[in-house]
Amino acid sequence: MLDLIIKENKQLSSQYSLLILTSPDKLPEILPGQFAEVRVDGSQTTFLRRPISIHFVDYELNELWLLIQIVGDGTRRMAEMNVGECLNLLMPLGNSFNFPENKDAKVLLVGGGCGVAPLLYLGANLKNAGFEVNFLLGARSKADLLQLCEYERFGNVYTTTEDGTHGERGFVTQHSALNGSKFDYIYTCGPTPMMKSVAAYAAKTKANCEVSLENTMACGIGACLCCVTDTTEGHLCVCTEGPVFNITKLKWQI
C-alpha cells in the first residue's frame, strides 16, 4: 500500500480528470497493463476500492498518472481531489501486456472511451523497446478523445468518433487504417462489445491479440474470487491472472 500525493488534477472534460500523483519515495516498477486499487475516502456510497488502470508513469519526474472517468460517487470524489491531498493505492496489481518477439512486428493499440488509459503507458514502453506504434482511439465525440497529444509522442494516432467530430465517423473497427495494413499484434481495452469486435478482426487477420478486462472487483489480489472471467482453464481472477488475457484463452464467441 502506498500513499501518493496529488501533484496535479487536470480536468479534461466534464466527465474525465487526469490525476498526476507523486511521492517523496521512488515509485515501484510498474509494467504496462497493471492497475491500482484506489481507496476512496469521504464518499458515503463507496465501500470498496476502485480498480484504476495505470495511465502513465514518468520515472524521471516520479509521477504516476491515473485517468479518471466519473461514473459514480467514488470516481467523482477522486476527480474532485485537490493538489496536496493523499490517495491510498494498492499497486502495482495484475499481469501485463506481452511484447512481440520480432522487433519488426506491426503493433496496433485500440482503445475506446476510458479504455484508452492503459494504452498510453503500453505505447511508451513499446516505443522504448523499438517498436513502431500505431494507436487507434475511438470515442463518442471529439470532447471524449482524451490526451491525444500524449499519444502522439509515442506513435501514429488514428481516431474515430461516432458523430464524426474528429477523425473518421463510426467505430474503431470501421477505420480505414485496418483495411490497408496487416498488423501482427493487437492490444485492446475499452467497452466489451468494442473489444469483441477488435478480437474478431484480429482472429480474421490472424493477428495475436491481447485484451485488458475491467470486471468489477472487490479485493484486487485474488482472495475474494469475485472478478472471474470464463477461460479455457475455467474461472480465473481478472485481478491476478489478468487483467490482460490473450483472446485464445477467453471463451468469447467471436
Partner: protein, 303 residues
C-alpha cells in the same frame, strides 16, 4: 502489553484475531503486505469434496456499507488442497483452519476425514451456512434437525477441533447453536452472510448472476453483534464472532458481547493489513483500561 492468548477449546490462539474464510485466500495472497503469522488464525477458502467452478460472473455487487457476493464456493477440491496448497501453507506459524462445505452429509464427512490426517490443520470450520450454492450449504444450517444431523456425522469422523459456522438466515439462531452443541461441536462461529439482493433498475435486471447473494461488511455488524450476544448467552461452548468488523473497536464490541475470538472478513478487501491493526488496537484498549488479559473482556458487557 496485555496477554492476548486465548483458547477456543483445544485450539490455542496467540491472539483472538483471525481472518474469515473466503476473504483471505490461503493467506499467501496477503504475505506481500503483512506478516501473516502474527494473526491468531487463518480460515482458508471453503473446500469441497470435488472441485467447483463456482457461479458465473457477475458475482459481486457493492451495496451501502457492504457488498453482496455469490462466488458459490469456487475451489479445486480437498485432494488438490492436500496435495498442492497445504504444503505451501503448513509452515505458517499460526492456526490454519479449513472451512468445509458440501452438498450432502457424505460430502462433509468424506472431506473432514481427509483433513484429519493433516498434522498442521488443528481444526475445521463446518460451513452449514453458505447462501450461494443451490443444494447443501445453508440448507443444512437453517433447521435444527439437519444442522444436528450433519454435525453428528462429522463429529464421528473428525477428531480435531470442530467449529460450526452458523447462518443468520434463521428465526432463532440460538436454537441452531444449541442443536450443534448437543451433537459435539467444539465451538460455533457466526455470522455467515445475510441473504440479500441488488437490482440494476436501468437494465431491469438483477446485478448478480444468481439473483440473490450474501451480504457482508459493516452494514451487517449490528445484526451479527446481536446474534453473537444471543448465542453466547445460550451455549457453553466458545463463540467466534464475525460480521462487518472493520477495526479494533468493532472487534472489542464482539468480545464484550461474548465472543472468545473474532474473524475479520470483508475489511481485508479494503485494507489487507487490517488484522494487524486490530490486534494492536485490542492490545491498546486492554492497556488503557488496565486489563491484564483479553480473557477479562470476553462477555464483560455490563447490562
Amino acid at each position: 502489553m496485555a496477554n492476548l492468548n486465548i483458547n477456543i477449546g483445544k485450539l490455542q490462539l496467540k491472539n483472538p484475531v483471525m481472518t474469515a474464510s473466503g476473504t483471505f485466500g490461503y493467506g499467501t495472497e496477503f504475505s506481500d503486505f503483512m506478516d501473516v503469522s502474527r494473526i491468531g488464525g487463518i480460515f482458508v477458502k471453503g473446500t469441497t469434496i470435488r472441485d467447483r467452478q463456482g457461479n458465473p460472473y457477475p458475482r459481486m455487487a457493492e451495496t451501502p456499507s457492504g457488498m453482496l457476493n455469490a462466488v458459490g464456493l469456487q475451489n479445486k477440491g480437498v485432494d488438490y488442497f492436500i496435495d498442492h496448497i497445504y504444503p505451501t501453507i503448513k509452515d505458517i506459524d499460526t492456526n490454519i483452519i479449513v472451512n468445509v462445505s458440501g452438498s450432502t452429509i457424505e460430502d462433509y464427512v468424506e472431506t473432514a476425514e481427509k483433513l484429519n490426517s493433516l498434522e498442521k490443520i488443528p481444526a475445521i470450520e463446518l460451513n452449514i451456512s453458505c447462501p450461494n450454492v443451490k443444494e447443501g450449504g445453508m440448507a443444512f444450517g437453517t433447521s435444527c434437525l439437519s444442522a444436528a444431523q450433519v454435525v453428528k456425522s462429522v463429529r464421528m469422523a473428525y477428531k480435531n477441533e470442530l467449529i460450526v459456522k452458523l447462518s443468520p438466515n434463521v428465526t432463532d439462531i440460538s436454537e441452531i447453536a444449541l442443536a450443534v452443541e448437543a451433537e459435539g461441536a467444539d465451538s460455533v462461529s457466526l455470522i455467515n452472510t445475510l441473504l440479500g439482493m441488488a437490482i440494476n433498475a436501468e437494465k431491469r435486471k438483477p446485478v448478480l448472476s444468481t439473483i440473490t447473494g450474501g451480504l457482508s461488511g459493516p452494514a451487517v455488524k449490528p445484526i451479527a453483534l446481536r446474534m453473537v450476544w444471543q448465542v453466547a448467552q445460550a451455549v457453553k461452548i466458545p463463540v467466534i464472532g464475525l460480521g462487518g468488523i472493520m477495526n479494533a473497536a468493532d472487534a472489542i464490541e464482539f468480545l464484550l458481547a461474548g465472543a472468545s475470538a473474532i474473524q475479520i472478513g470483508t475489511a481485508n478487501f479494503i485494507d489487507p493489513t487490517v488484522s494487524i491493526k486490530v490486534i494492536d488496537g485490542i492490545n491498546d484498549y486492554l492497556d488503557r483500561h488496565g486489563f491484564q488479559s483479553v480473557h477479562e473482556i470476553v462477555g464483560a458487557l455490563e447490562v
